[in-house]
């Protein structure tokens, strides 16, 4: 092991962390897997896999309103995850956490309920030019329905917004500001605290898309004072099909329901139906019980290492990758913001990202290629897509070195 790796590894036990992820033992195309597609979905520790198996093996049952033992056990486990999410983001109360399918559904929920009730013709919604399609399209649909206007804060060459642009775009017409805390394509961390404070002065509510931030940094909804925050379990070592929406109680209470059916009602009669209290008002139907339960050990995993330790270690991986890749002729880094999570987008002059991704895969290195569901952002940089390497806490400097060497080899055959 190199000296550099030892220094970092002494702070957190990387070998012990990797041992918790069975998939990291496998080979791809005859090479040990180096998994750098964490921004798409992270791998899962054994504790998450075990929790799923344990639930289906030992206490599978529908939750809430059951009097038998299995229902009680499943309900308790399900609600324990809600408390774990509440504590993770430091929400004031567990009832402010609504389980959804993921970040996309959480954003859609706000657009379909808060948006439906409180956005009117001529009102404005602000997003940034670096948003994921899931934080663009729901607002476009809402704006179309309401005759509202979608305002987009432009992105600089480094992949950052100008806070002054944002301040100037805000007005008393602004009803919702919806921005990513960290960009999925570029890694840029937005100055959301300043944005939230300014938006509140203008009378707007702020939704943070924290899908890419949650695995990498401390996110505190009370100190940020955001009104809504959306996240996905599967990008933070948890199962797929589960996410959450945090919303301030006073907002959630005045919002109309999202979907309707079982669970979300208080009383149903043919002449009048009353709705359940939050969070159940927004959780119609049988939820994804097993995956919600298996989300908790993922949060426990993050807590066991410590969010600050994760951030520091991933910063080291990112810095090492940036340094290595930027020294290679023909490599162009896309998104060079000062504040970044461990997401690194790049291109090689004269080569298509697909080809680079396939070549890296041939040596066991998994990266994502394409537009990363941010087509407007790719258009901004006048590119078809990028190669994106995104790092998690189980990645190593040696793996990053393999990426650098792989890219060097591919770049050397570029014809341009």
């Amino acid at each position: 092991m190199s000296e550099e790796v030892k220094t970092i590894a002494n702070q957190i036990d990387i070998t012990a962390i990797r041992a918790q992820f069975p998939i990291l033992q496998r080979e791809v195309n005859g090479f040990p897997l180096a998994y750098f597609d964490n921004a798409a979905t992270s791998q899962k520790p054994q504790s998450v896999i075990d929790a799923l198996t344990d639930y289906y093996t030992n206490y599978n049952s529908n939750i809430h309103r059951g009097v038998h033992t299995l229902a009680e056990e499943a309900t308790n486990a399900f609600e324990e995850t809600r408390i774990a999410v509440q504590q993770l983001v430091n929400a004031r109360e567990a009832e402010e956490i609504i389980f959804t399918k993921g970040t996309s559904e959480s954003i859609n929920l706000v657009a379909a309920t808060y948006g439906k009730a409180f956005v009117n013709q001529g009102d404005e919604i602000i997003i940034t030019g670096m948003e994921h399609h899931s934080n663009i399209v729901p607002w476009q649909i809402l704006c179309d329905e309401k005759g509202a206007i979608l305002r987009v804060i432009p992105i600089s060459d480094t992949g950052e917004i100008d806070i002054d642009d944002f301040r100037q775009t805000l007005s008393d017409k602004t009803k919702i500001v919806s921005v990513c805390l960290a960009s999925n394509s570029l890694g840029t961390v937005n100055p959301v605290k300043e944005m939230i404070d300014a938006a509140h002065v203008a009378g707007a509510v702020v939704l943070l898309d924290a899908a890419q931030a949650l695995p990498h940094m401390d996110v505190n909804v009370q100190s940020l004072n955001c009104d809504f925050l959306a996240g996905s379990a599967h990008k933070m070592y948890g199962p797929t099909g589960v996410g959450f929406l945090f919303g301030k109680r006073q907002l959630l209470e005045k919002m109309p329901p999202y979907q309707s059916g079982g669970e979300m009602i208080k009383e149903v009669a043919f002449d009048n139906t009353t709705y359940n209290d939050i969070p159940f008002k927004f959780e119609a139907g049988t939820p994804n019980i097993g995956d919600v339960i298996a989300y908790k050990p993922a949060i426990d995993f993050i807590n066991s290492i410590g969010k600050k330790n994760i951030a520091r270690y991933e910063d080291e991986l990112l810095d090492h990758a940036i340094k290595g890749l930027s020294e290679i002729d023909k490599v162009i880094l896309v998104g060079t913001a000062k504040e970044k999570v461990s997401v690194l987008s790049f291109n090689i002059e004269g080569m298509h990202p697909f080809d680079i991704g396939m070549m890296l895969d041939a040596t066991g290195i998994a990266v994502r290629t394409g537009h990363h569901c941010t087509m407007p952002l790719m258009n901004r940089f006048d590119i078809e897509g990028t190669v994106r390497a995104s790092f998690a806490v189980y990645n190593t400097i040696e793996e990053v070195d393999r990426l650098i060497e792989g890219v060097r080899k591919i770049a050397s055959r570029s014809r341009s």
């Binding site: 005859g30 298509h352 080809d355 396939m358 070549m359 041939a362 055959r413």
Partner: protein, 144 residues
């Protein structure tokens, strides 16, 4: 002009040297793509794009002396290599030979493992489009 069978056998032999080395195979495909003359810009129009490919693949055809001539290009290097193989096997052949061609080299060189299922679907679209052109020319000849 060599027969479709002979050209396929040549290709299978070339790929045998690469054995199971996926990286070397991809590099070789890109080299093959490099060697294929680029398609003139005027043929890179949307009507020449092959549907069902993740990358952009343009295919231009011509018909002379009862032979179908193909020229192709792609915006990605590996795909250019893939389509160059098809051009090599199927260009300058008669419509009947193209339509009836049993392209067993695809399986023999392990194309599915090399390029994965998504690109394999694209590759199948290329073959289909090439055969469609051949059928079109055959029909045209029959009608004259």
């Amino acid at each position: 002009m060599s027969s479709i069978r002979d050209i396929q056998d040549e290709i299978v032999e070339e790929f045998e040297i690469l054995a199971d080395d996926r990286e070397a195979t991809l590099f070789y495909l890109m080299e093959l793509g490099d060697k294929m003359p680029p398609l003139p810009e005027e043929y890179k129009e949307d009507t020449n794009l092959i549907k069902g490919c993740q990358s952009k693949v343009w295919l231009h055809s011509d018909f002379k002396d009862n032979k179908v001539l193909f020229e192709a290009d792609s915006n990605t290097d590996i795909t250019r290599g893939l389509i160059s193989l098809l051009v090599r096997v199927l260009s300058d052949q008669t419509p009947d030979d193209i339509i009836n061609a049993d392209l067993d080299f695809v399986e023999k060189i392990g194309m599915g493992q090399i390029i994965g299922s998504q690109r394999s679907n694209g590759f199948a679209s290329m073959i289909k489009q090439i055969k469609m052109y051949a059928l079109g020319y055959k029909t045209k000849v029959a009608m004259n």
